[in-house]
Protein backbone atom coordinates (compact mmCIF):
# COMPACT_ATOMS: atom_id res chain seq x y z
CA UNK A 1 0.00 0.00 0.00
CA UNK A 2 1.24 3.45 0.86
CA UNK A 3 4.21 2.14 2.86
CA UNK A 4 6.39 1.59 -0.18
CA UNK A 5 6.09 4.89 -1.97
CA UNK A 6 5.54 7.18 0.99
CA UNK A 7 8.93 7.28 2.69
CA UNK A 8 11.31 9.25 0.40
CA UNK A 9 9.01 12.01 -0.91
CA UNK A 10 7.29 12.52 2.45
CA UNK A 11 10.52 13.65 4.06
CA UNK A 12 10.68 16.99 2.36
CA UNK A 13 9.80 18.99 5.46
CA UNK A 14 12.63 18.00 7.84
CA UNK A 15 15.11 17.84 4.99
CA UNK A 16 16.27 21.44 5.34
CA UNK A 17 17.87 20.96 8.76
CA UNK A 18 17.60 17.93 11.03
CA UNK A 19 17.27 15.06 8.60
CA UNK A 20 20.88 14.11 8.11
CA UNK A 21 21.60 14.17 11.83
CA UNK A 22 18.58 12.19 12.94
CA UNK A 23 17.35 10.09 10.06
CA UNK A 24 16.18 7.36 12.44
CA UNK A 25 13.83 9.74 14.21
CA UNK A 26 12.54 11.49 11.16
CA UNK A 27 11.61 8.43 9.15
CA UNK A 28 9.18 6.59 11.42
CA UNK A 29 6.89 9.55 11.63
CA UNK A 30 6.45 9.85 7.94
CA UNK A 31 5.85 6.12 7.53
CA UNK A 32 3.59 5.34 10.44
CA UNK A 33 1.71 8.59 10.83
CA UNK A 34 0.86 8.20 14.53
CA UNK A 35 1.87 6.55 17.82
CA UNK A 36 4.37 7.58 20.42
CA UNK A 37 7.29 8.38 18.18
CA UNK A 38 5.23 10.63 16.02
CA UNK A 39 4.11 12.84 18.91
CA UNK A 40 7.66 12.89 20.19
CA UNK A 41 8.79 14.09 16.80
CA UNK A 42 6.10 16.67 16.74
CA UNK A 43 7.46 18.22 19.88
CA UNK A 44 11.02 18.19 18.70
CA UNK A 45 10.28 19.41 15.23
CA UNK A 46 12.18 22.58 14.42
CA UNK A 47 9.79 25.48 13.99
CA UNK A 48 10.17 26.47 10.40
CA UNK A 49 7.60 29.21 10.33
CA UNK A 50 9.11 31.35 12.99
CA UNK A 51 11.64 32.98 10.70
CA UNK A 52 9.00 33.92 8.15
CA UNK A 53 6.51 35.42 10.58
CA UNK A 54 9.17 37.50 12.28
CA UNK A 55 9.94 39.18 9.00
CA UNK A 56 6.34 40.21 8.61
CA UNK A 57 6.02 42.06 11.90
CA UNK A 58 5.40 45.76 11.40
CA UNK A 59 8.24 48.06 12.15
CA UNK A 60 8.37 48.93 15.86
CA UNK A 61 8.54 52.62 14.92
CA UNK A 62 4.79 52.59 14.28
CA UNK A 63 3.96 52.35 17.97
CA UNK A 64 5.93 55.32 19.22
CA UNK A 65 3.42 57.75 20.81
CA UNK A 66 2.35 56.46 24.17
CA UNK A 67 5.62 54.82 25.02
CA UNK A 68 7.08 58.31 24.81
CA UNK A 69 4.76 59.95 27.31
CA UNK A 70 6.49 61.20 30.38
CA UNK A 71 5.10 59.61 33.52
CA UNK A 72 5.25 62.78 35.56
CA UNK A 73 3.50 64.67 32.79
CA UNK A 74 0.75 62.06 32.82
CA UNK A 75 0.46 62.40 36.59
CA UNK A 76 0.15 66.16 36.22
CA UNK A 77 -2.52 65.83 33.54
CA UNK A 78 -4.42 63.40 35.78
CA UNK A 79 -4.26 65.77 38.73
CA UNK A 80 -5.56 68.64 36.66
CA UNK A 81 -8.36 66.60 35.22
CA UNK A 82 -9.47 65.56 38.70
CA UNK A 83 -9.12 69.13 39.97
CA UNK A 84 -11.41 70.45 37.24
CA UNK A 85 -13.89 67.73 38.03
CA UNK A 86 -13.86 68.11 41.79
CA UNK A 87 -14.03 71.92 41.61
CA UNK A 88 -17.56 71.46 40.36
CA UNK A 89 -18.36 68.26 42.25
CA UNK A 90 -17.66 69.99 45.55
CA UNK A 91 -19.98 72.92 44.90
CA UNK A 92 -23.30 72.85 46.77
CA UNK A 93 -26.34 71.84 44.75
CA UNK A 94 -27.75 74.97 43.06
CA UNK A 95 -31.21 76.04 44.17
CA UNK A 96 -32.70 75.49 40.74
CA UNK A 97 -32.21 71.73 41.10
CA UNK A 98 -33.59 71.61 44.61
CA UNK A 99 -36.66 73.47 43.37
CA UNK A 100 -36.93 71.23 40.33
CA UNK A 101 -36.97 68.06 42.39
CA UNK A 102 -39.50 69.54 44.79
CA UNK A 103 -41.76 70.45 41.89
CA UNK A 104 -41.46 66.99 40.38
CA UNK A 105 -42.26 65.46 43.71
CA UNK A 106 -45.21 67.75 44.28
CA UNK A 107 -46.62 67.02 40.82
CA UNK A 108 -46.31 63.33 41.40
CA UNK A 109 -48.04 63.61 44.74
CA UNK A 110 -50.93 65.57 43.26
CA UNK A 111 -51.36 62.95 40.57
CA UNK A 112 -51.33 60.17 43.11
CA UNK A 113 -53.92 61.92 45.26
CA UNK A 114 -56.43 62.11 42.44
Amino acid sequence: MSEKNSSPPRLTAPAESGESERPDLARPRAQQGGRGEATFMHNRKPNQQQGKSEQRLPSPRYSVPHGMLDRSLQAQLGRQLRAIYSDVAEEPVPDRFIRLLEELEATEKREEDR
Binding site: L81, S86, I98, L101, E102
Partner: protein
Protein backbone atom coordinates in the same frame (compact mmCIF):
# COMPACT_ATOMS: atom_id res chain seq x y z
CA UNK B 1 -35.62 73.65 52.99
CA UNK B 2 -39.07 72.82 54.24
CA UNK B 3 -40.66 70.33 51.91
CA UNK B 4 -43.62 68.08 52.42
CA UNK B 5 -42.08 64.64 52.63
CA UNK B 6 -43.51 62.08 50.30
CA UNK B 7 -42.51 58.71 51.69
CA UNK B 8 -42.46 56.95 48.32
CA UNK B 9 -40.19 59.34 46.45
CA UNK B 10 -38.15 60.71 49.31
CA UNK B 11 -35.28 58.20 49.04
CA UNK B 12 -35.10 58.68 45.28
CA UNK B 13 -35.18 62.43 45.61
CA UNK B 14 -32.38 62.21 48.15
CA UNK B 15 -30.32 59.93 45.90
CA UNK B 16 -30.81 62.28 42.97
CA UNK B 17 -29.87 65.29 45.05
CA UNK B 18 -26.76 63.52 46.24
CA UNK B 19 -25.71 62.75 42.68
CA UNK B 20 -26.25 66.22 41.24
CA UNK B 21 -22.74 67.48 42.09
CA UNK B 22 -21.24 64.54 40.19
CA UNK B 23 -23.57 65.05 37.26
CA UNK B 24 -22.65 68.71 37.05
CA UNK B 25 -18.95 67.92 37.17
CA UNK B 26 -19.34 65.37 34.39
CA UNK B 27 -21.45 67.76 32.34
CA UNK B 28 -18.95 70.60 32.70
CA UNK B 29 -16.06 68.39 31.65
CA UNK B 30 -18.05 67.24 28.64
CA UNK B 31 -19.22 70.59 27.34
CA UNK B 32 -16.78 72.99 29.02
CA UNK B 33 -19.45 75.47 29.97
CA UNK B 34 -21.22 75.60 33.34
CA UNK B 35 -24.48 77.07 32.05
CA UNK B 36 -24.86 74.54 29.32
CA UNK B 37 -23.82 71.90 31.84
CA UNK B 38 -26.62 72.87 34.21
CA UNK B 39 -29.13 72.69 31.37
CA UNK B 40 -27.86 69.19 30.62
CA UNK B 41 -28.22 68.22 34.27
CA UNK B 42 -31.75 69.59 34.36
CA UNK B 43 -32.71 67.64 31.27
CA UNK B 44 -31.11 64.54 32.73
CA UNK B 45 -33.05 64.85 35.98
CA UNK B 46 -36.32 65.32 34.11
CA UNK B 47 -35.69 62.32 31.88
CA UNK B 48 -34.62 60.20 34.82
CA UNK B 49 -37.70 61.15 36.79
CA UNK B 50 -40.03 60.41 33.88
CA UNK B 51 -38.38 57.13 32.97
CA UNK B 52 -37.79 55.72 36.40
CA UNK B 53 -39.56 52.54 35.37
CA UNK B 54 -36.66 51.78 33.02
CA UNK B 55 -34.18 51.98 35.88
CA UNK B 56 -33.45 48.61 37.42
CA UNK B 57 -33.45 48.73 41.20
CA UNK B 58 -30.18 47.67 42.68
CA UNK B 59 -28.13 48.71 39.67
CA UNK B 60 -25.87 51.73 39.68
CA UNK B 61 -28.01 54.87 39.75
CA UNK B 62 -24.98 57.07 39.15
CA UNK B 63 -24.01 55.14 36.00
CA UNK B 64 -27.61 55.26 34.80
CA UNK B 65 -27.78 59.05 35.23
CA UNK B 66 -24.40 59.50 33.55
CA UNK B 67 -25.69 57.46 30.61
CA UNK B 68 -28.75 59.67 30.26
CA UNK B 69 -26.64 62.79 30.50
CA UNK B 70 -24.07 61.75 27.91
CA UNK B 71 -26.77 60.55 25.50
CA UNK B 72 -28.49 63.91 25.86
CA UNK B 73 -25.21 65.72 25.27
CA UNK B 74 -24.20 63.71 22.22
CA UNK B 75 -27.55 63.95 20.52
CA UNK B 76 -27.45 67.68 21.12
CA UNK B 77 -23.93 67.74 19.62
CA UNK B 78 -25.18 66.03 16.51
CA UNK B 79 -27.94 68.63 16.21
CA UNK B 80 -25.57 71.54 16.49
CA UNK B 81 -22.51 69.99 14.94
CA UNK B 82 -21.48 72.98 12.89
CA UNK B 83 -21.65 75.34 15.77
CA UNK B 84 -19.62 72.97 17.93
CA UNK B 85 -16.89 72.60 15.35
CA UNK B 86 -16.54 76.37 15.04
CA UNK B 87 -16.38 76.57 18.77
CA UNK B 88 -13.57 74.01 18.99
CA UNK B 89 -11.68 75.73 16.21
CA UNK B 90 -11.61 78.95 18.15
CA UNK B 91 -10.33 77.17 21.21
CA UNK B 92 -7.59 75.44 19.27
CA UNK B 93 -6.48 78.77 17.88
CA UNK B 94 -6.29 80.32 21.33
CA UNK B 95 -4.20 77.41 22.46
CA UNK B 96 -1.65 78.04 19.75
CA UNK B 97 -1.43 81.68 20.75
CA UNK B 98 -0.66 80.89 24.37
CA UNK B 99 1.75 77.97 24.52
CA UNK B 100 2.27 76.41 27.92
CA UNK B 101 5.37 77.17 29.91
CA UNK B 102 7.85 74.34 30.11
CA UNK B 103 7.16 71.94 32.94
CA UNK B 104 4.08 73.74 34.15
CA UNK B 105 0.59 73.47 32.75
CA UNK B 106 -1.63 76.40 33.42
CA UNK B 107 -5.15 75.38 34.47
CA UNK B 108 -6.72 77.55 31.80
CA UNK B 109 -4.55 75.95 29.14
CA UNK B 110 -5.52 72.55 30.43
CA UNK B 111 -9.22 73.40 30.20
CA UNK B 112 -8.76 74.62 26.63
CA UNK B 113 -6.83 71.54 25.64
CA UNK B 114 -9.50 69.32 27.18
CA UNK B 115 -12.14 71.10 25.14
CA UNK B 116 -10.16 70.62 21.94
CA UNK B 117 -10.26 66.83 22.31
CA UNK B 118 -12.86 65.00 20.28
CA UNK B 119 -15.92 64.62 22.54
CA UNK B 120 -15.76 60.83 22.66
CA UNK B 121 -12.13 60.91 23.83
CA UNK B 122 -12.86 63.60 26.39
CA UNK B 123 -15.78 61.60 27.70
CA UNK B 124 -13.72 58.42 28.09
CA UNK B 125 -10.91 60.29 29.83
CA UNK B 126 -13.27 61.99 32.29
CA UNK B 127 -15.25 58.84 33.10
CA UNK B 128 -12.13 56.83 33.83
CA UNK B 129 -9.69 59.50 34.97
CA UNK B 130 -11.92 61.76 37.06
CA UNK B 131 -15.32 60.22 37.76
CA UNK B 132 -13.70 57.00 38.92
CA UNK B 133 -15.56 54.51 36.72
CA UNK B 134 -13.89 51.28 35.66
CA UNK B 135 -13.20 50.72 31.96
CA UNK B 136 -16.12 48.28 31.95
CA UNK B 137 -18.54 50.78 33.52
CA UNK B 138 -17.33 53.54 31.20
CA UNK B 139 -17.89 51.25 28.23
CA UNK B 140 -21.44 50.50 29.27
CA UNK B 141 -22.15 54.19 29.89
CA UNK B 142 -20.79 55.15 26.46
CA UNK B 143 -22.36 52.16 24.75
CA UNK B 144 -19.14 50.83 23.26
CA UNK B 145 -16.56 48.08 23.75
CA UNK B 146 -14.08 48.13 26.62
CA UNK B 147 -11.23 48.17 24.09
CA UNK B 148 -12.71 51.25 22.47
CA UNK B 149 -12.75 53.06 25.81
CA UNK B 150 -9.15 52.10 26.46
CA UNK B 151 -7.98 53.35 23.11
CA UNK B 152 -9.96 56.57 23.49
CA UNK B 153 -8.35 57.18 26.87
CA UNK B 154 -4.90 56.52 25.42
CA UNK B 155 -5.47 58.80 22.48
CA UNK B 156 -6.87 61.50 24.75
CA UNK B 157 -3.77 61.37 26.95
CA UNK B 158 -1.42 61.47 24.00
CA UNK B 159 -3.33 64.33 22.43
CA UNK B 160 -3.36 66.36 25.65
CA UNK B 161 0.37 65.95 26.04
CA UNK B 162 0.91 67.01 22.45
CA UNK B 163 -1.45 69.97 22.70
CA UNK B 164 0.02 71.24 25.92
CA UNK B 165 3.47 71.00 24.39
CA UNK B 166 5.24 70.23 27.63
CA UNK B 167 7.23 67.31 26.27
CA UNK B 168 10.78 68.25 27.10
CA UNK B 169 13.21 68.16 24.19
CA UNK B 170 16.22 66.82 26.07
CA UNK B 171 14.26 63.82 27.30
CA UNK B 172 12.53 62.82 24.13
CA UNK B 173 14.80 63.90 21.33
CA UNK B 174 13.42 64.60 17.87
CA UNK B 175 9.98 63.25 18.65
CA UNK B 176 9.12 66.12 20.94
CA UNK B 177 9.61 68.37 17.96
CA UNK B 178 7.13 66.25 16.04
CA UNK B 179 4.62 66.54 18.85
CA UNK B 180 5.08 70.29 19.00
CA UNK B 181 4.44 70.47 15.27
CA UNK B 182 1.31 68.39 15.71
CA UNK B 183 0.12 70.80 18.39
CA UNK B 184 0.86 73.78 16.14
CA UNK B 185 -0.80 72.24 13.14
CA UNK B 186 -3.95 71.65 15.13
CA UNK B 187 -3.96 75.30 16.11
CA UNK B 188 -3.31 76.56 12.61
CA UNK B 189 -5.94 74.34 11.07
CA UNK B 190 -8.45 75.50 13.63
CA UNK B 191 -7.71 79.15 12.86
CA UNK B 192 -8.34 78.95 9.13
Amino acid sequence: MSSGSNIASQPLKQSLLGLIPNLRAFAVSLCGDIERADDLVQETLLKAWNHLDSFQEGTNLRAWLFTILRNTYFSECRRRRREVEDHDGTKAAELAVHPAQQGHIDMQDFRRALNVLPPDQREALVLVGAAGFSYEEAASISGCAVGTIKSRVNRARARLSALLGVVTAHEFGPDSATEAIVARTVGVRGAT
